[in-house]
Amino acid sequence: MATISSRLKADIRFQDGLKACMNCGVCTAICPAAAYFDYDPREICQDVQSGDESILIGLLKGEQIWMCGQCLSCKTRCPRDNTPGYIIQVLRKISQEMGYFVHSRLGRQQLLLKRAIGHSILETGYCVHPKLIRPETHREQGPVWEWVMDNAKEVYEKCGSLYYEEGLGGMRKIDSDTLDEMHAIFQETGAFNLFDKIEQASEAKAAEMGLSFSDDDDNEYLREIQL
C-alpha cells in the first residue's frame, strides 16, 4: 500500500466514484459546499485524476477535503457517472489512516466527531440523542428546546417516547448485550483502529502545538479545535 493512488484504488467507493472526469462542472454548480466555501468538487476530481502523489498529499493535508457536506447531489448529475462525494469519503479515510488530517484546521475536528458520535454509538447505541444537544452550547435550537430539555422526561413520554427507559419504543435504553455486540463489531471491522489513529495523531499534534491533551471533555487541544 505504498502510494496514495494505490490506497485510493483499493477502496470500492473510489472505484465507483471516479471513472473519468471531463471537467464539465455540473457538480460544483449545485454543491452546497461550493456555495459556501471556496471549494470546488470538480477541481478535487481533477487533482485526484492527475495521480500525482505530491498533489494527493496536499489534498490529504489540506482543508478542502473536509468541506464537503456529503449530500451527494453531485452523484445525481454527473454525466460521466462519477461521484465526487465518494472520492471525498475515501480521501478523508486515507487522511486519517496516514495521520495527515491533523495538518488542517478542519481535519483536526475529527477528534471532536470521534469523541462525540463515536463514543455515543458505543455508549448508547445512538449516534445522536437528546442529552447530547445541550441548550447552552446549542442556542440555535431555540427556547422551545430549552423548555423541552428542562422537562424532558414528561415531554418525551407524552409523545410516546421511552426517554432512556428500557423497553420497546423511541429513545429506549438499548440493552447491554446489544451494546456488547456493537463493541464486537467495531473491534472486528477496524473501527477501533481508526479511533486509535485519530486519538494518537491528535495527541501528537497537541504536543507539537504545546497544548494539553487528555481523554477528558476539557483540555487545551479540544478547546483549540472547537474554534
Binding site: N23, C24, V26, T28, I30, R42, R77, P79, D81
Partner: protein, 346 residues
C-alpha cells in the same frame, strides 16, 4: 431494356439527393417518405450555418430537381417497416404487405432529435420558457410567440450545449457534432432579433470543426457580444413570473454561478431513428426511442461502399450525426457505388 429500379427510404436531404443523383445516373427511383411532407428536418430550419443561408432555399432547390425529374416517383405518408429479398430484387414492406419492388435500396431514414424532457433537470415540457433548439427554429420560421413577455425587448437567454449528448445519465455518450455550431448560429440570430438581449452559451467544449465555424464563433463574441461560459448547465428551476433560474459552474473561473433567464434553449442532440435488423433474407426497420445506436455499416472501412448487405445501401445521418454538406456528399457517393453494384462492377 427496362430501366433498373432503386427504392429510397426517407425523403430528407439524404433521400432527396440520392434520388436526384440516381435518376441522373439513369435509374427509376421510388422515393418513400413516412411523413406527410418531404424534407426531413431541413424543412423545419430557419437558416443554415455557417453562412446563414435560408434552409428553405436549399430544400426548394432539392425539391425542384426531384419534382422535375420524370424518373423519380415520390410517395409521402408511406412508412416502410421492412425489406424482403427475393433473389436479387428487394421487396418493400408496408404494414405486412408489399408496397413495391426494387433492384437496390437506399436507406436514408435520418435522425430523431433527443427528447429534451428526458433531461429532467432542465424542466423541458414543464417550464414554458425552456425550449429546444428545434422549437427555436420553429419560432423563427413560423414567427411564433416567444415564451416571455411581449414587452420584454432585452430578454436574458441561455443556450445549453450537449443536451442528451456526452451524457451517461441520458444513455448517449457520443458527441452530436453539430450542436455547438448550431448554438453559435442561434445565439447570433437571437441577438439579431433582440439587439438589447443578453445571450449566454453554456458549453463544455466549442466544437468548431468546420470551415467558417470558428469564424462564426469569433463573430458571435466580437460583433454580437454573445457570452460563452465554460460550464455544463446543471439545473433549471422556476424563478417566478415564468423566468428560469439556472445553475452552472464557470469552470474557467472556478466558481459556481446562478443566473435568472427569460428563456432557455436546449441544444438537443441527434439520436438514431431507425434500426435495421438484418436477417438472412429480411431486414426489419424498427423505430428507436431516444437510444443512440445509429446504423452501423458492417466492417466499415474508410472509403468503402456504405451498405448493410449487397444492394442495401445506407446514406446520411442515420449512420451518425452529420452536417448537410456531409449528408449530400454521402448521398452522391453512395449513388455511384450503387451504380457500380447494379452494373456488376462492385
Amino acid at each position: 431494356m427496362t430501366k433498373q429500379k432503386v427504392a429510397i427510404i426517407g425523403a430528407g436531404p439524404a433521400g432527396l439527393q440520392s434520388a436526384v443523383s440516381l435518376a441522373e445516373l439513369g435509374y427509376e427511383v421510388d422515393l418513400y417518405e413516412k411523413k406527410s411532407r418531404p424534407g426531413g428536418h431541413l424543412a423545419e430550419w430557419h437558416v443554415l450555418f455557417p453562412d446563414m443561408q435560408p434552409a428553405g432555399e436549399l430544400l426548394d432547390s432539392l425539391m425542384q430537381k426531384v419534382l422535375a425529374h420524370p424518373q423519380i416517383r415520390l410517395e409521402t405518408g408511406v412508412n416502410i417497416s421492412g425489406l424482403e429479398q427475393a433473389g436479387k430484387s428487394w421487396q418493400l414492406i408496408q404494414s405486412d404487405s408489399v408496397r413495391g419492388e426494387a433492384d437496390a435500396v437506399v436507406l436514408a431514414s435520418g435522425f430523431k432529435l433527443f427528447e429534451a424532457s428526458k433531461k429532467e433537470e432542465y424542466g423541458h415540457g414543464i417550464y414554458p420558457a425552456v425550449i429546444s433548439s428545434a422549437e427555436l427554429e420553429t419560432i423563427f420560421i413560423r414567427e411564433k410567440e416567444w415564451p416571455f413577455e411581449k414587452t420584454n425587448k432585452s430578454p436574458k437567454i441561455g443556450l445549453v450545449h450537449c443536451v442528451g449528448s456526452r451524457d451517461a445519465k441520458c444513455g448517449n455518450l457520443y458527441c452530436s457534432k453539430a450542436c455547438c455550431i448550431t448554438a453559435v448560429k442561434q445565439a447570433i440570430e437571437l441577438k439579431k432579433t433582440f439587439p438589447a438581449s443578453e445571450v449566454y452559451c453554456f458549453y463544455m467544449d466549442m466544437r468548431m470543426f468546420g470551415l467558417g465555424y470558428e469564424e462564426l464563433y469569433h463573430k458571435a463574441q466580437l460583433d454580437y457580444k454573445v457570452q460563452f461560459i465554460r460550464g455544463r448547465l446543471s439545473e433549471a428551476s422556476p424563478s417566478g413570473a415564468g423566468r428560469i433560474q439556472v445553475k452552472a459552474e464557470d469552470t474557467l473561473m472556478g466558481r459556481p454561478l446562478k443566473l435568472t433567464l427569460d428563456m432557455l434553449v436546449l441544444m438537443v442532440g441527434m439520436t438514431a431513428s431507425v434500426s435495421p435488423e438484418v436477417k438472412e433474407n429480411t431486414v426489419e426497420l424498427k423505430e428507436y426511442a431516444n437510444k443512440g445506436e445509429f446504423v452501423k455499416i458492417p466492417g466499415a472501412v474508410i472509403g468503402a461502399a456504405q451498405w448493410l448487405k449487397p444492394g442495401l445501401f445506407v446514406a446520411g445521418a442515420c449512420k451518425g450525426p452529420a452536417t448537410l454538406p456531409e449528408v449530400l456528399n454521402d448521398a452522391r457517393a453512395t449513388a455511384l457505388d450503387l451504380r457500380n453494384y447494379l452494373s456488376g462492377v462492385l
